[in-house]
């Protein structure tokens, strides 16, 4: 669970689902490393945003992530041709559906990183991080403490 809300500098736990290809070169990897330095930000690399099962986002929220940021490749830049187009539809619909149900707007965000500008990723993550901070710790969809973890392989 998240840091105690009574502490004045509560840091949101943010999951970044990052496609492998926008930040690929050595200098780009330095950018990713910089992003990882932001407290409580976890970067999960996927081969393509198209690999992202919308359930990943829901699981992330269920496990207590306060924000989920999906970063994919811009139009016409998908390494696998169309993964970003397909994921765009799936994930934006999921995002809008969650917001229709009352999820705070912007907790889940889908963005693409323009062909790597210096500082693009860490800037984007910081922006998301600050945005999510205003909502406080996630409560909706978080698993109740009495239930065992859904991703556990062993019996409780």
């Amino acid at each position: 669970m998240n840091a105690d809300i009574t502490k004045t500098d509560w840091a949101p736990r943010v999951l970044v689902l990052l496609c492998n290809w926008p930040l690929y070169t050595q200098s780009d990897l330095a950018e990713v490393a910089k992003t990882r330095e932001i407290p409580q930000v976890r970067v999960l690399k996927v081969p393509c945003a198209g690999r992202i099962n919308p359930l990943f986002i829901l699981m992330a929220l269920q496990e207590g992530n306060d924000g989920v940021l999906v970063v994919g490749c811009p139009p016409e830049s998908c390494h696998y041709k169309a993964g970003n187009y397909l994921s765009n539809r799936k994930l934006v619909v999921l995002k809008r559906f969650l917001e229709y149900l009352g999820m705070e707007e912007g907790r889940v965000r889908f963005e693409w990183i323009a062909n790597p500008e210096q500082g693009g990723l860490s800037r984007l993550v910081r922006e998301h991080y600050e945005h999510v901070k205003q909502f406080g710790p996630v409560e909706k969809l978080v698993r109740s403490h009495f239930a065992s973890g859904p991703l556990s392989y062993s019996s409780p």
Binding site: L55, L94, F97, L101, G102, G106, S144, S148, P150
Partner: protein, 319 residues
């Protein structure tokens, strides 16, 4: 309605006797009042089981599963036909395997509305000339059928079968597109109120999967809730598991749902579900200009993409 019932029986008998189809899927008189039940007729001698009335709320396209090479006939109202088309688009069977006995829909009643209006358990119900004759312990009441139409049926814009092989009854006048009142009302509320409503409704869910079983589009051999390595959500009534179950079930219908209402009708806990499905149908219309089951050429929104349109969507929704 009697004329329609007669015609359906005639056509079914003919199709079966001529061996044009293996079986006829239709409705029979239900064991519960105000609810006709699905029936599958094999023998021409059994066609007298078939009925048609305002209690035929189920979506019979649900029974077009595991057809194999068989050819079947199905009695289908407007929404059912759209489901059939959607299933053909998703390659569940081919068009020539289904003989569609299309019935322009007179709109179905909502048995829950009737139950609320009658002060007592309904033991028997009969429909006659636009009236519902309802019998309870010690009294009978006559209600106007049109006062008890299901909310989805009232908002329906596709009552006439879009395709059919046989048409039973006269085509009806279609209404213009109006926002579905329940999802429109839901959207008016504040985010906090919406979540509170959702959470409250879902607190009654017992994970019976009636909604899934009733839905024609939920044909996955392994539903995501049945997947075990990894197990996505718990198979329990723990609140977050239920909330995610319902979100994902509705979400899996995005661009596939025909607004038949079978899910909500099936729920034993009277949980409201239509604001979910209609919310997603509104999104599909708005974002992709797509409505399910109108033709066999258009691909569902998640099966295709439009590179130019995508730029705009991302701009609107990237934040």
């Amino acid at each position: 309605m009697d004329k329609l019932t007669q015609k359906i029986r005639q056509e079914a008998a003919r199709l079966l006797a001529d061996h044009q189809v293996d079986r006829v899927i239709g409705f029979q008189e239900g064991t519960l009042p105000l609810r006709s039940a699905p029936v599958i007729v094999h023998d021409p001698a059994d066609v007298d089981k078939l009925v048609w009335n305002s209690f035929c709320g189920n979506n019979l396209a649900r029974y077009l599963r595991g057809l194999g090479g068989r050819r079947v006939a199905i009695v289908a109202k407007g929404c059912d036909v759209r489901s059939i088309i959607a299933l053909i688009v998703e390659k569940q069977f081919s068009r020539d395997q289904v003989v569609i006995i299309g019935v322009p829909c007179q709109r179905m009643i909502d048995w829950r509305k009737v139950a609320k209006a009658v002060n007592g358990e309904i033991l028997r119900a009969e429909e006659r000339d636009g009236e519902l004759l309802v019998e309870s312990k010690g009294f009978k009441r006559s209600l106007q059928r049109d006062d008890f139409i299901h909310s989805l049926c009232a908002a329906c814009t596709h009552r006439n079968p879009i395709v059919y092989d046989i048409l039973v009854g006269e085509p009806v006048e279609e209404a213009g597109q109006t926002p579905f009142p329940e999802s429109a009302a839901f959207e008016e509320r504040s985010p906090a109120e919406r979540w509170a409503f959702y959470k409250d409704e879902m607190s009654r869910c017992i994970r019976c999967y009636g909604c899934r079983e009733a839905c024609p589009m939920c044909y996955c051999e392994e539903c995501f809730v049945d997947h075990s390595q990894p197990s996505w959500i718990a198979k329990s009534v723990e609140p977050s598991a239920v909330q995610i179950w319902q979100i994902v079930r509705a979400y899996h219908q995005a661009g596939r749902c025909v607004s038949c209402g079978a899910c909500e009708r099936a729920c034993p806990m009277n949980i409201k579900l239509l604001y979910l499905t209609e919310g997603l149908n509104d999104l599909a219309r708005e974002m992709f200009d797509f409505e399910t089951g109108l033709n066999t050429e258009s691909l569902p929104p998640f099966a295709t993409f439009d590179p130019d349109a995508m730029r705009d969507t991302a701009k609107q929704d990237g934040r």
